[in-house]
């Protein structure tokens, strides 16, 4: 019996860290347009999120692709000792879920939980 369903890929921090910001955005868009749900272990920087929204808008097609559903937790300041020593203000990115807007719907979200509904019906 052939199993039906939606492919979900869990992407490690290391895999995304190897990519340049533009590559990350392209990778995510390509995967999502092919119908996959991505769970990014460490998410994207706010600038990368803005780029992802921008690129999504350029690819919206009334006949096929209506956009993405993206959910991440609010970012946190880096409070590591190393960061404090360097007095460098960095933002710690957090887990992010991205999928096609017609297959992934966020039901509820708060500071520490994202509840989503997946649908295989377009």
């Amino acid at each position: 019996m052939k199993m039906q369903g939606i492919q979900m890929d869990l992407i490690s921090e290391e895999k995304l860290a190897e990519m340049a910001p533009v590559e990350k955005v392209r990778f995510i868009i390509d995967e999502v347009r092919s119908g996959k749900i991505l769970v990014l272990e460490k998410g994207l920087t706010p600038e990368e999120e803005a780029s992802l929204i921008e690129m999504t808008m350029t690819l919206i097609d009334p006949e096929g692709f209506s956009g993405i559903e993206m959910e991440s937790y609010p970012s946190k300041d880096d409070t590591s000792i190393f960061g404090k020593l360097l007095k460098k203000h960095t933002v710690r990115t957090r887990l992010t879920v991205v999928g096609p807007a017609d297959q992934l719907k966020t039901l509820k979200k708060d500071r520490n939980m994202i509840s989503a509904l997946l649908s295989s019906h377009k």
């Binding site: 999504t56 808008m57 350029t58 559903e69 993206m70 017609d102 509820k108």
Partner: protein, 211 residues
């Protein structure tokens, strides 16, 4: 005598222009239908007697960023002059079918969707050219939307001032305290842009944050 007076005036104008501080550019951001243009209209009507643009209950009514230069706001004995940019609603998805549910013809709905995508791109690009943001949130909705998270993250990454306007407190189901609890690190003012409720407090906060 007249020549000297004209010369003095020109000399004075030249120095004023040379050393004039650039107005802070403040973007009004938020998800579609949060009340951004209603707030922009309120600010402009209060301080210039003019309006920014039309409003509608159908999402993405504002599909091009509008900029109004030199809006002077007076509060707390201070005066601050801003360039205000009313941006199209940010979104991660735009489906023309949603416009058809409001009675639009398919061709009109598709055209609106196309223009809306261009508006979102314009709003994202403006993020690189601002000195601060008023983020308008609908106080009747869940504040943890991705648009809110992304705008706040971008302002924090750029170390630019952000002021949250928890809008629509004229509606009984509004809950501005939920917004305050969600983003406690940023100042928030609960307002009704439509009725002008608490708007003076917003002006005081604008003068404090962006002055």
């Amino acid at each position: 005598m007249g020549v000297i007076r004209v010369f003095k005036q020109n000399f004075s104008d030249f120095f004023k222009k040379l050393f004039r501080k650039k107005n802070a550019r403040i973007g009004i951001y938020g998800p579609p239908n949060a009340g951004k243009t209603t707030l922009a209209n309120r600010i402009l009507r209060d301080w210039t007697g003019d309006a920014m643009g039309s409003v509608s209950h159908i999402a993405h009514e504002t599909r091009r960023a509008r900029r109004r230069e030199g809006v002077t706001i007076k509060a707390n004995g201070h005066s601050i002059t801003l360039d205000i940019i009313d941006t199209p609603g940010l979104a991660t998805k735009i489906d023309f079918h949603e416009f058809m549910e409001h009675g639009m013809e398919e061709s009109e709905a598709k055209r609106r969707a196309k223009e809306a995508t261009e508006g979102v791109i314009e709003a994202v690009k403006w993020l690189d050219n601002l000195d601060g943001v008023i983020l308008v949130m609908d106080a009747t909705e869940d504040p943890y939307t991705q648009v809110n998270v992304t705008v706040i993250g971008n302002m924090e990454a750029r170390k630019l001032p952000l002021l949250i306007a928890a809008n629509k407190i004229d509606l009984p189901e509004s809950s501005p305290s939920t917004i305050r609890d969600a983003f406690p690190q940023h100042p928030m003012v609960a307002i009704s842009a439509l009725e002008g409720k608490n708007i003076d407090t917003l002006y005081e906060e604008i003068a404090k944050r962006f002055g």
